[in-house]
Symmetry: C2
Subunit: 337 residues, 2 copies
C-alpha cells in the first residue's frame, strides 16, 4: 500500500522538524510562527522533473540541489539561513515507494540544511498526475544591509567566487549519455568528468561568503544561476551601468580547463552562458577589495577579480586573448511557454 | 509568440508588486527582504489542476481560491496578512496565451489581496510538461499569541463560523455536470446551486475573526479545509481530548438546507466530511463566549456553538435528531500516492 500524505509529512517532521528557540509554532499546525529580530529575507524556487532535473535523479541529490539553489539566493543577499518550507507534488500511481523516497530526500536535505543552520517548519505534500515538482522556500535573517542588483557603480571591481562552467559542462555530458543533443567537453578524464558532475549535482551555496561580504559593506551581489553573462546582465540592467570583463581571468576549474583551450565556442557555452554554478558575482569598490581578499582567505572560498563596472555606454565588453569578443545568441536561459 | 518567463514576472510585478514601508527589497532581486516587529506566521499550499481544481477554472477564480486557502490558515492562527510569494508552473506547448492568463490571474488575486492588506513580494514562474500547478506562500504578523491545535481543553465550547457543507455540495454538482461519479444535492433551485458554487469558487477567509479571537485570548482554532469531522479530529488528537457535537446545531446555509432534511448520508457527506469550506473551528472557554459573540457581531461573521470539548475517553460523540450517530468511513480526505 502506498503511504498517505500524513505519513509522508510525519517522515519529514521526524527527520527534519527540529526545535529552535525562535520557532514558536512548528510543523503540524495550520501555519508556523517564527521570531526574528532582524529583517527577514525570503525567496522560493520551483523545480520540475524533466525541466530542471532528470526524473531519475537520486532523491538525496535532488534534495541537496533544491535547497542549495535557494540558499544561494540568500547568500547573494548576505542573509543568514534560518527556516525552510518544502512543497512536494509527487506523481501518483507510479511504482515508487514514496515513503522510502521521502526518507532519502530527508537525508539529502539534512546533509546541507544542518551545517547551514536551516530548519524545516512547514510546506505541503500533494499528489500530481504530472512530473515530480517541488517548491522550496527559505527564510533568512538579514543582519546587514542586503546586497542588491541595482547597487553596481562604475569603478567597482567585478569578482567571482569559486569556479564557473563546471555544472554546464557536466550537463552536456549527462545529456550526451542520454543520447540527447549536447556538446560534451572533449578529452576529459573520467575523474575530471566525475568532478564536474559533483558540481552539477551538489552545488555549494556561498553562505558564509555572502554574509561576510554584506557585513563588510559590499552593496551589490547576485548569484550565478542563469549563467555569468545573463546574471551579470541583470546587475548591469538594474544598476544602469556597463562592465569590462577579461574572460581570460574567469576562474576555471582544473577539471574543466583542458576542455576550453583556444575554443571560443567552448568558453561561451560553459563559463560564460552555462548556468547552475551558484557562485556569487560581487561588485566591490576599490577600498573594499583588500577586505574581500581577506574574507576569501577566512571562508576558504577562492575569489577572482574578472573585470570592473563601467559607465552604461560601454555595455558589456568581453575581452578574450587580447581581443574584444561577442556572445553568439542571448546567453542565459529562461522558460518559454 | 508565447511570452517568456521574464515577461510574465513583469506582468505580476506591475499588477501586484506594490510598495510598502516594511518591504526593504521587493520583487526583482534574488530575494525579498521584509521588516516585521511581531513574530512572523508562514504557511504554504500547493494546488494541482485535476486534483484541487478543474483544469478549465477561470484564472480569476483560481487566483482567489489559491490565496484564500492560505489566508484561511493565517486566520486560524490569528495572524494579520502581510506578504505573499507565488510559484506558478505553467503547462508548456498549450494553445493558451499565458500573458493574458497571468493578467486575469493577477486581477483575481488583487480582488482578495488588496482588502486583505497582502502584497506580492516574490516567487517563481516555470514551465511544466504536467498540469498547471501553483504554490502560494503567505506571511502574516502575529501580534497576539497564536491559536493552536493543541490547546483545546474539556469544558470549552466548540464554535463554527459561517456555514459549512456548501463547497462540498457544489463540488458534487460540478462533478455531476462533468459526468463524473457524484451525489448532487436534490431539489435545489438554480439560484441555490449558484450560491453554493460561489462558496466553492470564492471562499471567504475569516481574517478579521481570527485576528479578533486571538486578541481576546482564544487559544485554540483550526480552519475547515479537510472537512469538519477531520479538522475537529486534528484538534482532538493534538490536544488529547474528545468532543460532544450536536449535529443539528451545525450552521447550514439557506441554499443547502433543503437538500439535507432527514437524510443522514447527506449530513455526513456535506457538512460533516465535505471539505473546502474555509470556516474556522474555535474552542472557547466559557468565560470568553460572550466576548466571542460580540466579535461575531463586530466582524459580521455568524458564529454558532455546536458542542463542547470533553475528556479524551468520550472520543468524538455526534448527536443527530436525539440519537448518537457514527460516521461511515474515515471522514476528510488526504492525498494517497
Amino acid at each position: 500500500m502506498q503511504p498517505g500524505e500524513f505519513r509522508l509529512i510525519e517522515v519529514l517532521r521526524s527527520a527534519l522538524g527540529e526545535t529552535d528557540p525562535d520557532l514558536l509554532v512548528g510543523m503540524g499546525d495550520d501555519a508556523a510562527v517564527v521570531r526574528c529580530r532582524e529583517p527577514v529575507t525570503i525567496c522560493s524556487d520551483t523545480l520540475v522533473a524533466g525541466r530542471h532535473f532528470f526524473a531519475d535523479v537520486a532523491a538525496t541529490d535532488l534534495a541537496w540541489k533544491a535547497l542549495a539553489v535557494n540558499l544561494s539566493d540568500l547568500a547573494a543577499m548576505g542573509a543568514i539561513p534560518r527556516w525552510a518550507l518544502l512543497n512536494l507534488s509527487l506523481p501518483a500511481g507510479q511504482n515508487c515507494d514514496w515513503g522510502l523516497w521521502v526518507e532519502d530526500f530527508a537525508a539529502g536535505w539534512r546533509a546541507l540544511a544542518k551545517p547551514s543552520g536551516l530548519r524545516l517548519i512547514g510546506g505541503d505534500t500533494v499528489a500530481t498526475d504530472g512530473p515530480l515538482t517541488l517548491t522550496v522556500t527559505v527564510l533568512g535573517a538579514q543582519r546587514d544591509a542586503p546586497m542588491r542588483r541595482d547597487a553596481a557603480r562604475p569603478g567597482q571591481g567585478v569578482w567571482v567566487s569559486g569556479c564557473i562552467g563546471d555544472a554546464a559542462a557536466a550537463l552536456d555530458i549527462a545529456w550526451s549519455a542520454r543520447a540527447l543533443p549536447a556538446r560534451p567537453p572533449a578529452g576529459l578524464s573520467t575523474q575530471a568528468q566525475w568532478a564536474l558532475e559533483q558540481r552539477r549535482l551538489r552545488p555549494t551555496p556561498r553562505t558564509a561568503l555572502g554574509e561576510a561580504a554584506a557585513r563588510c559593506g559590499v552593496a551589490c551581489a547576485q548569484d550565478i544561476s542563469d549563467g555569468f553573462v545573463a546574471d551579470l546582465g541583470h546587475i548591469l540592467q538594474a544598476s544602469g551601468v556597463g562592465a569590462r570583463i577579461c574572460v581570460d581571468d574567469l576562474p576555471i576549474s582544473v577539471a574543466l580547463r583542458p576542455a576550453l583551450g583556444e575554443d571560443w565556442e567552448a568558453w561561451q557555452r560553459w563559463p560564460l552562458t552555462g548556468g547552475d554554478d551558484y557562485e556569487l558575482i560581487l561588485c566591490v569598490p576599490p577600498e573594499l577589495e583588500d577586505t574581500l581578499r581577506g574574507i576569501g582567505r577566512e571562508t576558504g572560498v577562492p575569489l577572482t577579480r574578472v573585470g570592473e563596472i563601467a559607465p552604461a555606454e560601454v555595455g558589456l565588453e568581453l575581452r578574450w586573448r587580447g581581443e574584444l569578443r561577442r556572445i553568439d545568441g542571448h546567453g542565459g536561459h529562461q522558460h518559454v511557454f
